[in-house]
């Protein structure tokens, strides 16, 4: 058995600032994970479909445009609808403190705001994997 943790990093919405997403993608790769990066301006539909085809354990979504309250829950809804609610969701980007509880309610296990060290994301993923087994 050669099981690897697989993570999809996607950027929905219209902002093209993917430095944060790429930074996290690289950090996860360096932590020994397989990271599928799908690029910018993805629809929630495309992110959910890719996550299922790639059979990932986690989907991480990054957004800086302010549309997170709409787009984040939409990805969660689509995954549920496609019978893939076992995929663990996390989000990152410019997200006001007061929006975080709502996103968690929508199905996000964690929201990382700017300045979060990459090691924290790695630790979050490893902890979630342990919990699952």
């Amino acid at each position: 058995m050669d099981r690897k943790i697989r993570v999809l990093i996607g950027k929905p919405g219209l902002d093209g600032h993917d430095r944060g997403a790429k930074y996290i993608a690289r950090a996860l790769r360096d932590a020994g994970m397989e990271v599928v990066y799908t690029g910018i301006r993805q629809t929630p539909e495309a992110i959910a479909d890719a996550a299922i085809q790639e059979d990932v354990d986690f989907v991480g979504i990054s957004l800086l445009s302010g549309a997170h309250n709409h787009l984040f829950p939409e990805v969660a809804r689509l995954l549920r609808e496609k019978d893939a609610s076992d995929i663990i969701l996390f989000g990152g980007g410019v997200i006001p403190e007061e929006d975080i509880p709502g996103l968690k309610e929508a199905g996000y296990a964690a929201i990382f705001t700017p300045g979060t060290p990459a090691a924290e994301v790695v630790e979050f993923i490893n902890l979630q994997m342990e919990k699952r087994q």
């Binding site: 360096d30 990271v35 690029g39 629809t43 496609k82």
Partner: protein, 319 residues
């Protein structure tokens, strides 16, 4: 649906989730991967196209074009895109989907990214098995994009029915194109980025080097394209179709069967050797220590294992 039979049934019904799970099982070498492949093998119906070439040659962009082409014909298209895994951490950044975004929400396109996971031939150890799963699920063609390769990663030609080698101007002089290996395995040599300087030179180098191919060996067709602006694609599709017509379906499956058997024999050889190491040296680690300590050579270990196996066979034969 996580049960083996559930997965096999789901693949037959075209369930995306089941296909994705089956791919993970074979990729991870799970205990039921052989059972899954055993059931799916005879259901393969698609033909496979391999796309190889150096990093940055435009392989993903070309694959994106191919998806559009086969979708327009009404085919379901499978893609396996292999990217390198880090030899140190085992991690991988799989980014080939970025250039295939236009097909992201098409339910008839199944794209799977794979890390090479320590395999060196330009593919991953499970690429053939993954191709079997997609083909059995009804995807045709299954397009396999290798990692960016150098000169000797020729494994793809053994797996794919048709192999495209993508080259671009400016990667090396004429000596590079005369090297054996990668230049010899292509069915079609695609000269991409035809809008760039140096394309004429590249074409004449490549064609000149093909002059040296001896009679009786296959001589690849050379097609000039620009995957980005679409130039030359019709010529390329024509070349692929001509080749596909010379590979009747039954022939393909039987060829694939023999090659798959070869691969399984190699894997079994590894497994048996591990068992013999266990018997002879209490495991691989001890044997490695002995070699590193200078007490044994690797050749002596190999010989010892073969002798052990022969004694075991003789013993069985006398029963």
């Amino acid at each position: 649906m996580t049960s083996t039979t559930g997965i096999i049934q789901g693949v037959g019904e075209g369930s995306i989730r089941a296909i994705a799970r089956a791919l993970s099982r074979v990729e991870n070498g799970s205990s039921d991967s052989t059972d899954i492949l055993d059931k799916l093998f005879a259901r393969q119906q698609g033909f496979t196209i391999g796309v190889t070439g150096p990093p940055g040659a435009g392989k993903s962009t070309l694959v994106n074009r191919m998806i559009t082409r086969y979708r327009a014909d009404g085919n379901s298209v499978g893609v396996i895109a292999v990217d390198p895994s880090s030899p140190f951490t085992g991690g991988a950044l799989l980014g080939d989907r970025i250039r295939m975004q236009s097909h992201a929400s098409d339910p008839k396109v199944f794209i799977r990214s794979m890390g090479s996971r320590g395999h060196l031939g330009g593919l991953s150890g499970a690429t053939r098995d993954a191709s079997c799963v997609l083909s059995a699920a009804g995807y045709s063609p299954v397009i396999i994009e290798t990692v960016g390769v150098g000169q000797a990663e020729v494994e793809i030609a053994d797996l794919a029915d048709i192999t495209l080698l993508v080259l671009v101007p400016g990667l090396g002089d004429d000596v590079q194109s005369m090297k054996a290996g990668i230049m010899e395995i292509a069915d079609i040599i695609v000269l991409n980025k035809a809008d760039r300087n140096g394309i004429e030179q590249l074409e004449s180098y490549v064609k000149a080097s093909l002059e040296f191919i001896s009679a009786g060996f296959k001589k690849p067709e050379v097609v000039r394209i620009s995957a980005v602006n679409g130039e030359g694609l019709e010529d390329l599709w024509g070349a692929i179709d001509r080749l596909a017509a010379t590979h009747p379906g039954e022939n393909r499956i039987s060829r694939s069967a023999v090659r798959t058997l070869n691969e399984i024999l190699r894997e079994n050889g590894m497994l048996f050797s591990e068992k013999l190491l266990e018997l002879e040296y209490n495991g691989r680690e001890t044997a490695e220590e002995l070699i590193l300590a200078g007490q044994l050579t690797p050749y002596a270990v190999g010989k010892k294992l073969l002798e052990r196996a022969e004694r075991m066979f003789e013993h069985n034969g006398s029963n």
